[in-house]
């Protein structure tokens, strides 16, 4: 099987590095070619990395509560940069306070994200989703 390339990183001014390393390890072990941008990643950096590496998905993490602001406009910028239809995931503590997940998911999907993962999501959940969306393998 040809390895699929994905770009991962923690968006905005967020410096939570541990979860990022765990995801990098888990996605690589699952057979993906992972371009890890680390922490404090800007929207432009995700896009530029995805262009050069021909990635098929961008997986955005956010843990500090400001994810909603940081993620606005990412889909539009992808379209503008020629990455139309690229898979966009987001996960973590992506909003401030305790809000019903359904509302949060709805808002991020409206922003153009294909999948939204709440706090405490296991890496396996995201890996299954990537396998389904990129390889058509349904568990």
């Amino acid at each position: 099987m040809e390895k699929k390339t994905i770009v991962i990183g923690v968006i905005g001014a967020d410096v939570h590095a541990v979860g990022n390393q765990i995801l990098y390890y888990a996605f690589s072990e699952a057979g993906f070619n992972v371009v890890n941008l680390g922490v404090m990643v800007s929207q432009e950096e995700y896009i530029e990395a995805a262009i050069e590496s021909n990635a098929e998905a961008i997986v955005v993490s956010s843990l500090y509560g400001h994810g909603e602001l940081d993620c606005q406009g990412l889909r539009e910028k992808c379209d503008e940069a020629g990455l139309e239809g690229i898979l966009l995931y987001v996960g973590g503590n992506i909003v401030v306070g305790k809000q019903p997940f359904e509302d949060v998911e709805k808002r991020f999907k409206a922003m153009g994200f294909d999948r939204v993962f709440g706090p405490g999501t296991a890496p396996e959940t995201t890996i299954d989703a990537l396998k389904e969306d990129l390889l058509g393998i349904k568990k």
């Binding site: 001014a13 967020d14 410096v15 371009v35 922490v39 404090m40 050069e52 021909n54």
Partner: protein, 464 residues
């Protein structure tokens, strides 16, 4: 006596330096105008006569030459994303001693090809995509380059998976191709040495003879690299040292010319503080940048555009009318030298602001970002704040009454976010020996570093 002759065919002057390897000293130096219109041998012979006048009729055990005559090594590069492979391509070409006339990003257009034909580069560097990454853009660009009418060799240093295909598309009698490793095999990892080795090989095999510099074969065969590559080799040796001779550590060098300004840094440039994240393309340990719009005469206007008239007025102490009139004067007479206090003040201001602009563009940048847990910093490029020695060369700096004052003025009034040296000492290469020593380093490293430590600045000795 074991004497080596080192030759620099510069754009204006052909400079000769005779070095005694046994005593490790410079015996004599001489220069004459470079004569590309007829045959560079003319200017060379003229300078050689002057050298023999000083030395008597001396035999040389070795002749080595570098050249930036006839436009130097003129390159055009293309990459994919401006801040990634296009930047990597540019860094590779600069480090190989080239003059990068233009760098393209994303997909080339027919207009771009017309522009490339106008430029008629000596070498085209084609990059784009990480290994296994994007291949569409580099292939598209290969298709377009194959339609160029002017002949030039093409170095293919992009996505490994696309290299063979690009070669098939481009390779022809007028566009011979050379495949080498990707300049950015993984995201943000720079890998420019292989491309530079190929560029150097092409320079030796094709460019030097194609320039039609001379009919004398021996003279041409002695040219082993472009002048800036030689300067970079000298700086690298002086910084790192050899097994027997200690280097002087991390350094920078500014070469302020009439048309362009070159900046070199031999330094890691890593963040100095653990609260700083390094982001973007990791820049090379030996970095060269060239500012084509910054220079004391042909590009004086570029200095004003970059630094602002207000700063010229502040530093020179002249009125803006006086400053304007001097700028107008030098734009008509490129060989104008400062003659009185006010023209000296004006050249001082231009030199300081040229050095400031070139240093800022070469060095990295620090961005402060406020987070819920306080301020954090993100660094792009190299942190050169700790560099304490800058070698200055080029007429305006070497002939200045007070080069340290030029440097001090250059680094004053710079925003903290620009990671330029904070308190550097000016060291002068008044004898212009760097390019000669870079050449010598390919033959006798020990002599080259020992001569540099004796002759450059004087401050350098203290760093033993």
């Amino acid at each position: 006596m074991q004497v080596v002759l080192l030759i620099d065919f510069g754009s204006t002057f052909t400079k000769l330096t005779a070095v005694d390897l046994e005593e490790r000293r410079i015996l004599a130096a001489a220069q004459s105008f470079t004569t590309v219109e007829s045959d560079v041998m003319q200017g060379f012979n003229h300078a050689l006569e002057k050298l023999h006048e000083q030395l008597g009729n001396m035999q040389f055990i070795k002749r080595l030459a570098c050249s930036s005559a006839a436009g130097g090594l003129r390159m055009v590069a293309s990459g994919l994303v401006p801040s990634l492979t296009a930047k990597a391509a540019k860094l590779a070409a600069f480090g190989a001693g080239a003059k990068v006339i233009k760098t393209f990003s994303y997909e080339l257009t027919e207009e771009d090809i017309a522009a490339i034909d106008d430029i008629a580069p000596d070498i085209f560097l084609l990059t784009g995509g990480t290994d296994g990454g994007n291949f569409k853009v580099i292939q598209h660009n290969a298709e377009l380059i194959s339609t160029a009418k002017k002949p030039f060799p093409v170095v293919i240093a992009g996505n490994r998976s696309a290299a063979k295909k690009c070669e098939e598309i481009i390779s022809s009698d007028i566009h011979p191709t050379y495949i080498t490793e990707n300049v950015m095999p993984e995201l943000n990892r720079l890998n420019i040495a292989p491309a530079q080795a190929v560029i150097r090989e092409i320079f030796l095999d094709r460019i030097v003879s194609a320039k039609g510099l001379s009919h004398e074969k021996a003279l041409i065969e002695g040219i082993i690299m472009p002048t800036p590559a030689s300067v970079l080799a000298a700086l690298s040796l002086l910084s790192k040292g050899t097994e027997k001779t200690k280097g002087i550590g991390e350094i920078m060098c500014v070469d302020l010319g009439g048309a362009t300004t070159d900046v070199y840094s031999i330094a890691k440039g890593y963040p100095l503080n653990s609260s700083v994240m390094l982001s973007g393309l990791r820049e090379p340990f030996e970095k060269r940048s060239v500012e084509g719009d910054i220079g004391m005469r042909y590009s004086a206007k570029g200095i004003v555009d970059a630094a602002g008239m207000e700063e010229i007025v502040n530093i020179s102490g002249l009125s803006s009318e006086e400053a304007e009139s001097y700028l107008c004067e030098i734009s008509h007479d490129k060989s104008r030298l400062p003659s009185d206090d006010s023209t000296k003040a004006m050249d001082f201001a231009l030199a300081a602001l040229a050095v400031r602009t070139a240093l800022i563009r070469h060095a990295g940048e620090l961005e402060r970002i406020y987070t819920p847990s306080g301020a954090v910093y993100k660094q792009q490029g190299k942190d050169l704040t700790g560099i304490d020695k800058i070698i200055l060369t080029g007429g305006a700096l070497v002939h200045s009454d007070n080069p340290q004052a030029i440097l001090d003025t250059a680094i004053s009034n710079i925003d903290e976010s620009n990671l330029v040296p904070r308190n550097p000492k000016a060291i002068l290469d008044s004898g212009y020996i760097l390019s000669a020593m870079g050449l010598l380093s390919t033959y006798d490293e020990e002599s080259a570093i020992n001569i540099m430590k004796q002759y450059i600045g004087g401050h350098v000795d203290g760093a033993n």
